[in-house]
């Protein structure tokens, strides 16, 4: 019983932290994009205001049970990924709460990461909105694009370190140095892959607002949209922590964690701020081009080092 309470407490506390940091990052991103466009931009806490306003909406409509529970799929995936990723090094970050990072490994996380998008996609499918379905089609196609370099990079890291668990990777890095430098090609591949993963420009055609009316979420409003945005904030943070754990040996305190994740997050954000938009097949071909090339080099490097 106490274990379960500890787990639930850990889940709640991690979720809260992830939400706060993730939503703040979202606000910062809006600010950064605004600054690159020579605007002032919204205050940093704008995402909190948006999300809480959406939760306070009085009414909500749905087109059926799948749309109704679609956001629940998304939040399940985000929080589960977060639960299985060590947020801070050395056994969790609040001594009295538990994380589940010894119970899963990288392959599991790769699969868990797509759980949410597939569940959401089912919810979106039920709305019957053609724009939303077009967005789903584009998003899923693009997912096949970025998943390949993403997996190539992770596989080469796993082969190089002879472990598939994140805690194992972090122990390896404590002894041998950051994988960012020890597996440089894998890191380059990952940087290229996360350009696609975070759905910023030039890979944002799935959500193109003025072309397909924001695509997937176009029928979601009120609490549904709020839950999607919450889940998105948590998921962005979870992915960043995962990447920091894999390539930068995690972080031992919150300040370092924020610094590292923010640095990594700036790669897709800044690239996106100055980029136009790829069409879906162009995006897929781009992601299967140079990123896969670097990924194969990374794999060969990891085998023969």
């Amino acid at each position: 019983m106490e274990d379960i309470l500890k787990l639930l407490g850990g889940a709640a506390a991690t979720m809260l932290l992830a939400f706060v940091v993730g939503a703040t990052y979202g606000g910062l991103v809006r600010k950064i994009i605004a600054r690159t466009q020579n605007r002032v931009g919204p205050p940093w806490y704008q995402n909190f205001v948006d999300i809480s306003k959406l939760y306070m909406k009085d009414t909500a409509v749905h087109h059926g049970v799948m749309q109704h529970i679609g956001p629940a799929f998304a939040i399940t995936a985000s929080v589960t990924v977060l639960m299985f990723v060590p947020v801070l090094r050395e056994g969790g970050w609040f001594p009295w709460f538990e994380n589940l990072n010894f119970k899963g490994d990288i392959i599991f996380l790769i699969y868990m990461m797509v759980f949410g998008s597939l569940g959401m996609a089912l919810g979106i499918g039920q709305t019957g909105n053609p724009n939303a379905s077009i967005g789903v089609s584009r998003g899923l196609s693009m997912m096949v694009g970025y998943e390949i370099p993403f997996v190539l990079s992770l596989v080469s890291v796993m082969v190089q370190t002879h472990t598939t668990s994140i805690t194992g990777l972090m122990e390896w890095q404590t002894q041998n140095g950051w994988l960012m430098f020890e597996a440089p090609f894998a890191f380059i591949t990952m940087l290229l892959a996360i350009l696609g993963m975070f759905h910023y420009a030039p890979f944002d055609i799935a959500h193109a607002p003025s072309e397909i009316a924001s695509g997937p979420p176009s029928e979601f409003g009120g609490k549904y949209l709020a839950m999607m945005m919450t889940s998105g904030s948590i998921f962005a943070f979870a992915k960043l922590v995962f990447l920091v754990d894999v390539f930068m040996n995690g972080a031992s305190n919150l300040v370092m964690l924020v610094v590292k994740t923010l640095l990594l997050y700036m790669v897709p954000v800044l690239y996106g701020a100055v980029s136009p938009r790829y069409r879906t097949e162009q995006a897929i071909r781009y992601l299967w081009g140079w990123p896969v090339f670097f990924g194969i080099i990374a794999l060969i490097y990891s085998i023969y080092i």
């Binding site: 704008q46 306070m56 409509v61 176009s218």
Partner: protein, 182 residues
């Protein structure tokens, strides 16, 4: 916690008012000439995102409906549909003299003259056309109203639905609209 307690109520209202007024998701219904005033208000010259305004793509996500100009009766039908698809609380901001009294279209056979006979308007912005400064000043007024809890057009619409429907059906001849979704 007793939500009916006066003090608690006040705090809750303050928080809701703050969140609702500082995060206005706009659905710009660009009719007539007014839509051209919205891009300058959005982009670097005036940058309305610094006040938490944001343009959304669909009525489901939006809070504010911007009607930016005259409305032909055909367009009115779409406006009503979009308005009814929005989630409450929802607000309407109407631009220009065309929406107030018909403006230069006052004797046109196929445009409506007073928008608030058809949907409840929270803020009118005067001018032909209003400049972005005027648009934003109107939105500030809307924010003030929301904070005070006075921007309750949706409630008005619900209470006087029959009157609004009567007016709408008077000008829209081929009325094939689904019933209102609350």
């Amino acid at each position: 916690m007793d939500t009916n307690d006066k003090g608690v109520r006040k705090i809750v209202d303050m928080i809701t008012g703050f969140a609702r007024s500082n995060s206005l998701f706009m659905l710009a219904y660009g009719t007539g000439c007014g839509d051209i005033e919205i891009p300058p208000a959005m982009t670097s010259r005036y940058d309305w995102e610094r006040f938490g305004y944001r343009k959304m793509a669909t009525p489901r996500q939006a809070d504010v409906l911007l009607i930016s100009g005259y409305l032909a009766t055909k367009t009115l039908k779409r406006v009503i549909r979009s308005y009814e698809q929005m989630q409450e609380p929802k607000y309407v901001v109407a631009f220009g003299s065309c929406t107030i009294n018909g403006g230069m279209y006052w004797d046109s056979y196929n445009t409506i003259k007073m928008l608030d006979h058809y949907i409840p308007v929270d803020v009118y912005i005067n001018g032909c056309m209003p400049r972005p400064e005027a648009v934003m000043s109107g939105l500030f007024d809307l924010q003030e109203q929301i904070k005070k809890g006075e921007a309750n057009g949706a409630q008005k619409y619900r209470e006087n639905l029959e009157w609004y429907r009567g007016n709408q059906k008077k000008v829209i001849k081929n009325w094939v609209m689904p019933e209102y979704n609350w």
